[in-house]
């Protein structure tokens, strides 16, 4: 039981951080009008399925804003 | 008083002499056109005047103070608008102007008023968009506003109109005319109609040298070839007039097309008196006799020949 609490004490914030990252990237992607529809789908897959790294890569290289 | 004095400016890249002893000065209270072909060295001259580039030889003075390479003190007198201005895309126009005001060391209270005035002048007030979403024309107008934030006594514009559509150009020229009341403007261009629209004086740069400078009227007066046209009622009359004019050596060969006789001469006044005399002796009544003002284009073409 102690192990479970130990586990959740640290896993919970980790999951929350991942979710924040995921949601930020997805929200940005949906609003981004500089990407074509097909590019958006590819990015969406990358963001959702490549854990942590996916959203980060999108936010650094995929935004196409500057 | 001269706001900008450039003396014997030389700059070469490798074996290519971009500037080869450029000398001219800009008096205060004028719009000064700096004309030249693409690659004539206009931008190079301006960059040196801003202390962004080191000349090989020569000096530039602004408001009497010498320009030095690097952090030059003379920049506080100057506003600069590059040909394709780029601003921080993540800021709004208001934020960018505030940054410029802070950087120029303007009084905090004053700067707020100043910023809204300038943004209103260029038509960007209440614009909450970030600069990354601006069109070329909007950036150019913001460019003017930011260049004027420090009340410069000299505004340097590098081909401000060349990238704009006709409407954007008109707006920009209007702003330049407005600015003229307080600030001396020097702008480089190869669009000669713009020069005629706003410039008082011009300098023409060719092959790294100033080949001609002076007021627009003065330069036009100096142009050697003046065009004239006589329009008559019938072709027959036109033929007679053309024939009669041929014997005058002052007039370069006249050409008849339909009812029109056209030609050039070195002196517009002489040409006119000869033509009028000729018409009188032939007792022909013309529909129109016209002497064409030389355009800046002709001035330019002759200067760089």
């Amino acid at each position: 039981m102690q192990l479970m609490t130990d586990y959740f004490a640290i896993l919970l914030p980790l999951i929350i951080l991942q979710l924040i990252l995921l949601v930020t990237a997805i929200v940005h992607l949906v609003r981004n009008d500089r990407l074509s529809q097909s590019n958006k789908i590819i990015w969406a897959l990358v963001i959702v399925f490549v854990n942590i790294i996916g959203p980060i890569i999108y936010l650094i290289f995929g935004r196409k804003e500057d | 008083m001269a706001v900008l004095e450039i003396e014997q400016l030389k700059k070469s890249y490798g074996t290519q002499n971009v500037l080869d002893g450029v000398t001219f000065s800009v008096d205060s209270g004028s719009v000064y056109g700096f004309i030249g072909k693409n690659g004539a060295g206009k931008t190079t001259t301006m960059t040196i005047a801003l202390g962004l580039l080191k000349p090989d030889e020569g000096t530039v003075r602004i408001n009497g103070e010498p320009v030095t390479y690097g952090d030059t003190k003379t920049n506080k007198y100057v506003g600069y608008l590059p040909d394709v201005p780029e601003f921080y895309p993540f800021l709004t126009a208001g934020e960018y102007m505030t940054l410029c005001a802070d950087v120029s060391g303007l009084d905090k209270k004053e700067s707020k008023k100043k910023i809204s005035e300038l943004l209103e002048m260029v038509g960007l007030e209440n614009n909450k968009k970030r600069i990354r979403n601006y069109s070329r024309g909007m950036k150019q107008r913001l460019g003017i506003a930011q260049a004027l934030i420090n009340d410069p006594i000299l505004l340097i514009c590098d081909e401000p109109t060349s990238a704009l559509d006709p409407i954007g150009r008109q707006q920009l020229l209007t702003v330049l005319k407005k600015v003229k009341e307080k600030t001396t403007v020097i702008f480089s261009t190869h669009i000669l109609t713009d020069v005629e629209a706003v410039c008082d004086k011009v300098a023409i740069l060719n092959n790294g040298k100033i080949v001609k400078q002076g007021s627009v009227e003065q330069l036009k007066a100096e142009v050697k070839t003046n065009q004239w046209t006589v329009v008559l009622e019938t072709e027959e009359e036109a033929g007679r007039v053309a024939e009669a004019l041929e014997i005058h050596p002052e007039l370069l060969p006249a050409k008849q097309t339909g009812v029109k006789v056209e030609g050039t001469s070195e002196s517009a006044a002489d040409a006119m008196s000869i033509i009028l005399n000729c018409l009188h002796t032939l007792s022909v009544i013309p529909v129109r006799v016209e002497r064409k003002e030389p355009t800046m284009e002709e001035v330019f073409m002759e200067a760089i020949r």
């Binding site: 192990l3 130990d6 586990y7 004490a9 640290i10 896993l11 914030p13 980790l14 951080l17 924040i20 990252l21 930020t24 940005h28 942590i52 980060i56 936010l59 650094i60 935004r63 804003e65 500057d66 | 960059t47 801003l50 202390g51 962004l52 580039l53 390479y69 690097g70 952090d71 003190k73 920049n75 506080k76 100057v78 506003g79 600069y80 590059p82 201005p85 780029e86 601003f87 921080y88 993540f90 800021l91 934020e95 505030t98 940054l99 410029c100 802070d102 950087v103 120029s104 060391g105 930011q146 934030i149 420090n150």
Partner: protein, 255 residues
């Protein structure tokens, strides 16, 4: 001074609006969480993955393992991400010509350089602190028997090594217009340090000790003269890089 403040504000806006602070914040926080997590649970994970016929004896993890993970994660993930995210710090402005407006408005170049450097150093400080505090809190929770003796020096030395990397990032950013150049410069610099460490003479003076001997310092709870020399050298090179970068930027062609 006003120009300095205004330019810092611009940098902060830029980095927040371009998600740079956000990304680094998340990465450093994850590193802070991941380190005690893997120290605490890796042995159990190993056991479940291992074939039952093979018995391996795993030592009971201690607070040292947690910090060991911290040091290697900061080195291999967080610092790398930091350099990646900030490598275009100068190149983008060179490329777009945005410095020109600032310089022609009379903002001294050293102020620009100083403001950029300040923001980088502050970011590193804050993010590193976040990461450290998270690891520290969980390490205390999981391994209450651990001591904090030697912790300050071992964690501080990695921080110092980060400063060296940032000063090199800025110097190479000033020197080269390409946005990948700082990556290569930092990568090359670290490679040189590793190659140098093959030779014991250099190893005993190398700044690399600050990034590789942290666990040793923590375990022994003391430093030796070689480590101290490395720290002093690091500090000296950092200052030298910073000054050189400033001097070069003052004379750098902006167009």
């Amino acid at each position: 001074m006003r120009g300095y403040g205004a330019f810092i504000q611009k940098e902060i806006r830029e980095n927040s609006r371009n998600y740079k602070f956000f990304i680094l914040g998340i990465i450093f926080a994850i590193v802070g969480l991941l380190s005690p997590l893997s120290a605490r649970f890796l042995p159990e994970l190993m056991e479940t993955l291992m074939d039952e016929n093979i018995t391996i004896i795993l030592a009971e993890p201690t607070y040292i393992d947690s910090w060991l993970q911290f040091f290697s994660n900061i080195n291999q993930i967080a610092l790398v991400a930091f350099v990646l995210v900030f490598s275009p710090v100068m190149a983008k402005e060179y490329e777009k010509g945005t410095f020109i407006h600032m310089v022609t408005k009379g903002l001294p170049r050293l102020t620009i350089y100083g403001a950029k450097l300040t923001v980088l150093l502050l970011s590193w400080t804050i993010f590193y602190l976040i990461s450290f505090l998270i690891t520290r809190a969980y390490t205390l929770y999981y391994f209450p028997e651990g001591t904090s003796e030697g912790l300050f020096i071992s964690v501080g030395s990695l921080y110092l090594f980060g400063l060296l990397i940032i000063s090199l990032l800025m110097l190479s950013g000033v020197l080269f217009r390409n946005s990948y150049a700082p990556l290569l410069a930092v990568g090359g610099g670290v490679a040189v340090l590793f190659i140098g460490s093959i030779f014991p003479v250099i190893e005993r003076w190398s700044p690399l000790q600050l990034a590789t001997r942290n666990v040793e310092v923590l375990t022994l709870q003391s430093t030796d003269p070689a480590f101290t020399r490395g720290a002093i050298i690091t500090l000296m090179i950092t200052v030298m890089f910073i000054i050189t970068g400033g001097l070069v930027f003052r004379r750098k062609a902006l167009q």
